[in-house]
C-alpha cells in the first residue's frame, strides 16, 4: 500500500501556528505518513538561529504559556518527526533570496531549499494543511 501523504505549509510567524503545524506534522510522521513541510514567509524567520536563541517569537496567551512552561517547541517537534518517521522540511528559496539570508543562518533542520514547483511535485496527491 502506498504511504499516505501530508503536506504542511508554514506561513505564519505566530508561535501558536508554528506549533500546531509542527505538532500535526510530527504526529503524522509517527503514524506512518509521508510528511513534507514547506516553510516560507514569516514562518521562515522563526527558524533563524538568532530568533530561536532569543525566543523572539510572536506569541499570544497560549504561546506565552508554552514558553513559560518550556514545552518542546515547533523545531523540536519537527526533529522528533524526522527521527521517528518519514518527514522532510523545505525552506522557500524565494523568501531566502528576497531577504538575503543564507542557509547557515538557520537551524540545521532543512533537507533542502526549494521553489514552489519542486514542492508541488512533492505535495502531489497529498492532503494539505496551511498554517
Amino acid at each position: 500500500m502506498e504511504q499516505p501523504k501530508l503536506s504542511v505549509i508554514l506561513l505564519s510567524g505566530e508561535l501558536e501556528k508554528l506549533q500546531a503545524g509542527c505538532l500535526i506534522s510530527s504526529v503524522a510522521s509517527m503514524s506512518g505518513m509521508e510528511v513534507n513541510v514547506f516553510v516560507t514567509m514569516e514562518a521562515l524567520r522563526s527558524f533563524r538561529k538568532e530568533v530561536i536563541e532569543a525566543k523572539d517569537f510572536k506569541a499570544g496567551l497560549i504561546g506565552q504559556e508554552m514558553l513559560n512552561k518550556q514545552v518542546d517547541l515547533f523545531y523540536k517537534l519537527l526533529e522528533n518527526g524526522k527521527e521517528m518517521g518519514n518527514l522532510k522540511v523545505f525552506g522557500c528559496a524565494m523568501a531566502i533570496d528576497l531577504m538575503g539570508w543564507k542557509k547557515e543562518d538557520f537551524i540545521d533542520i532543512f533537507d533542502d531549499i526549494i521553489g514552489v514547483t519542486a514542492f508541488l511535485g512533492k505535495a502531489a496527491g497529498s492532503q494539505v494543511i496551511v498554517m
Partner: protein, 80 residues
C-alpha cells in the same frame, strides 16, 4: 484482567504535554523488540484517546488504558 503481563519498561511521561507522552512511547517501541511491553504514565488527558488510536493505527496491541489518580496508565505490546 491482564495483571500478569510483564512490563519491559515503564515510561514516566507525567508532566509532559501533547504530543510528548505519545512521542516517548513511539521512541521506545521503535527501538524495542517485538513482544516488548511498554507502560506509559501520562498526566496529559489527551493521551488516553490518542495513544489507543495510534496503537490501533500502527497495528500494535493495547493491553490496558486505565486512569489512576490524576494520571493514566497505558500498556502497549510491540507486535511488529
Amino acid at each position: 484482567m491482564s495483571e500478569e503481563v510483564s512490563i519491559t519498561k515503564t515510561i514516566d511521561a507525567r508532566g509532559s504535554y501533547c504530543p510528548g507522552p505519545l512521542m516517548e512511547l513511539v521512541k521506545a517501541i521503535k527501538h524495542g523488540q517485538v513482544g516488548d511491553v511498554y507502560e506509559l504514565l501520562s498526566s496529559d488527558s489527551g493521551s488516553a484517546k490518542d495513544v489507543p488510536e495510534w496503537v490501533n493505527k500502527m497495528g500494535h496491541e493495547l493491553i490496558y488504558c486505565k486512569p489512576e489518580g490524576d494520571f493514566w496508565r497505558i500498556a502497549v505490546r510491540k507486535t511488529k
